[in-house]
């Protein structure tokens, strides 16, 4: 009896040490590319790409399960830099242009504060029973506020060009 206990304890010790050593010595890193791509993503975990967050999306992009253009908040600039990183050719001018921003219809807003609680970038300002407002510069067009709004008063409107952002459209085909 004592012999068996000693033997099993000894075996446990030896095997445990061996396993512990193997775990350290033969450690496999996660794909470093996933980490890099994930760093490039917006990091707002908005889920518009259909994945649970930015890291799962990065994994899918690296594995080729998702397009580099799948991230709406990242837009063309993210698509371009991802394509460059992964060595993929994409036609940038064929991408849909134009960013959309959440816009709160102040005539319908009741000041319930639900939208600004879900905003991942704190882009909505307001207070209880006060009309809320969206700061365009901080809006990633994730649409979470649209879903949260009980009054259905949030619309996604395209960005209005200003004198600073306007640029010449593409010339008609020659």
């Amino acid at each position: 009896m004592i012999g068996a206990i000693l033997l099993l304890t000894l075996m446990g010790l030896i095997l445990g040490t061996a396993l512990g050593y193997a775990a350290k010595a033969f450690h496999v890193e996660g794909n470093p590319l996933v980490e890099e791509v994930s760093q490039m993503m917006p990091g707002t975990q908005c889920g518009q790409c259909g994945f649970a967050g930015c890291t799962p999306a990065a994994e899918a992009i690296v594995n080729g399960d998702a397009e580099v253009t799948c991230c709406p908040p990242g837009g063309t600039s993210l698509a371009a830099s991802l394509a460059k990183k992964l060595g993929i050719d994409i036609k940038l001018d064929s991408l849909q242009e134009g960013v959309v921003f959440a816009h709160i219809n102040s005539a319908l807003c009741t000041g319930c504060t639900r939208c600004y609680k879900v905003c991942p970038t704190d882009a909505i300002v307001g207070a209880n029973k006060q009309i809320h407002m969206v700061i365009n510069a901080a809006c990633t067009s994730c649409r979470r506020c649209v879903e949260a709004c009980p009054e259905n008063c949030i619309d996604m409107l395209p960005e209005q060009a200003t004198l600073d952002t306007w640029y010449w459209p593409k010339p008609k085909a020659a």
Binding site: L78, P120, T121, T140, T165, W168, K170, A174
Partner: protein, 492 residues
């Protein structure tokens, strides 16, 4: 021929300067309404400091400089502020931007001018500040605030001040007439710029197709130390900084570099004139000389007009148009931009208002590139426009950039010589705009990423604090169970 040329590439467009070059500058009567835009310069909008209904005097500050790169705006004449509202901007998009609308009282009462001091005895930074306060911007077209350009050159060992009197754009003769009629003040302005920057030499460069301006400037420059009138050959784009510096000093500004990298600071003659007025007479920039010309104008001439004068009023002063002009341009025909409406107001950086007829413009259908290479020999920057355009067309903007898109000065020489009439400059405008918007987008993404991280941190902190509070409460309850039993409702 190329051996003797002052810089590589370039073109010789028909000048059409004879339309207005010999006529004296006329002063425009005060128009019934002035539309003074808050954006007349590179950078952010000026901020209006007057209210509708308030009375302003000529030269009074009506909008202070905005944040960052900006310039203030002054009232061009005395009158009542009628409104501050968006009007059609002098911009190719045809969009509106805010302007202060002034109803002149026709008395032209100026603000009180402080006692004038000899500007050469004042400290340099004070002079630079005065130039900034006078709202002076580059009047050759780029509208970059002059004081910023001067201050950034102060510590960069600038040796030569180049005053640009080349006026290489066809039709435009505003600088030509300014040099012919008001040479002394330009030279005073040039000396003041030299004094502010601490440079040694002044070179005033004039293209050889302006004999009157050359002789007037030479006469005014007699007896000046270290000041030279340089006659340069007529060749477009002589007026571009890099080409002008190459022609005058022989130095080439490195790609991505600035003129001060080769010890040069360049200003337009009209800017030098405005600086002289600001420092010697304490007059802010409220008027400019503008060429109103083109085949559709009845009496093409140069007009000294108040900033904010509607283009329509200027054209009416010149006899109106012969028939409906086919194209309206602000600036020259090479680099100016098309405007759709005559309602655009005159702004500080506009040297010409052109109304062109059908036979003055060519607008044939573009045909495919035949790779003849004419654009390559015309490009003054030594780029390959056909490759850049091809890449821009197919959305390969980084590829276009690798071919030197960022060095392109958008002078239009390539499009001018293209036998296939490909809108090359339009492609480059489009590609540059796209790259800029991409940069802006990724900047915004960095910002929102940071916002999301701060929010997450805050939520985590709040959750931790809540958990800690709960634990503390649980601890208290353990010690005194009797208390909790008294108020069971509070737990739910």
């Amino acid at each position: 021929m190329a051996f003797f040329s002052p810089f590589r590439g370039g073109v010789h467009p028909d000048s059409f300067k004879e339309l207005s070059a010999t006529l004296p500058i006329m002063r425009l009567p005060i128009p019934p309404q002035l539309f003074v835009p808050l954006r007349q310069h590179a950078g952010s909008d000026a901020v209006a400091i007057v209210e509708p209904g308030s009375h302003v005097l000529k030269g009074q500050l009506i909008a202070r400089a905005g944040n960052g790169l900006s310039a203030p705006v002054h009232a061009p004449t005395s009158g009542i502020v009628a409104a501050i509202t968006p009007v059609t901007a002098a911009h190719p998009s045809g969009m509106k931007s805010n302007a202060i609308i002034i109803k002149p009282d026709r008395k032209d009462t100026p603000v009180k001018v402080p006692t004038l001091l000899d500007p050469f005895k004042l400290p340099r930074d004070e002079l630079a500040q005065k130039i900034a306060d006078a709202g002076i911007v580059g009047m050759g077209g780029a509208s970059f605030p002059a004081a910023v350009k001067l201050s950034s050159a102060i510590d960069r060992h600038v040796e030569t001040i180049v005053i640009n009197g080349s006026e290489c754009e066809p039709y435009l003769t505003a600088d030509d007439r300014l040099m012919t009629e008001r040479a002394e003040k330009i030279i005073l302005g040039a000396r003041l710029i030299r004094h502010v920057v601490g440079a040694q030499k002044i070179a005033i460069a004039i293209e050889d197709n302006k004999p009157n301006a050359i002789s007037a400037m030479q006469k005014a420059a007699v007896g000046e130390q270290q000041l030279e009138i340089v006659v340069v050959p007529t060749r477009y784009p002589m007026g571009s900084a890099k080409q002008m510096i190459k022609a005058v000093t022989g130095h080439e500004v490195p790609a991505g570099g600035r003129s001060s990298d080769v010890g040069v600071l360049m200003h337009n003659v009209a800017t030098a004139y405005a600086i002289a007025e600001a420092l010697a007479e304490s007059k802010p920039l409220t008027s400019r000389i503008v060429t109103v010309s083109g085949g559709a104008i009845v009496r093409p001439q140069n007009v000294e007009a108040l900033i904010g004068t509607p283009a329509r009023y200027l054209i009416e002063f010149c006899g109106g148009t012969v028939n409906t002009p086919t194209r309206l341009l602000l600036g020259g025909p090479m680099m100016g931009h098309v405007v759709q409406s005559l309602d655009v107001p005159l702004i500080k950086g506009v040297a010409g208002i052109l109304a062109l007829t059908d036979h003055e413009i060519t607008n044939p259908q573009a045909s495919p590139c035949i790779r003849c290479g004419r654009c390559v020999s015309a490009c003054p920057m030594g780029l390959v426009p056909l490759e850049m355009a091809n890449r821009s067309k197919h959305g390969d903007f980084d590829g276009a950039n690798d071919y030197g898109l960022s060095d392109c000065i958008l002078c239009g020489s390539c499009a001018y010589v293209c036998p296939s009439h490909i809108p090359l400059v339009h492609y480059f405008q489009y590609a540059k705009g796209h790259l800029n918007s991409q940069t802006a987008q990724s900047k915004r993404m960095q910002y929102t990423r940071q916002l999301a991280e701060t929010r997450q941190e805050r939520i985590d902190k709040a959750a931790a604090a809540k958990a800690a509070a709960k634990a503390a409460k649980a601890n208290r309850r353990k010690r005194s169970p009797a208390k909790t039993e008294k108020s069971p409702q509070g737990e739910s």
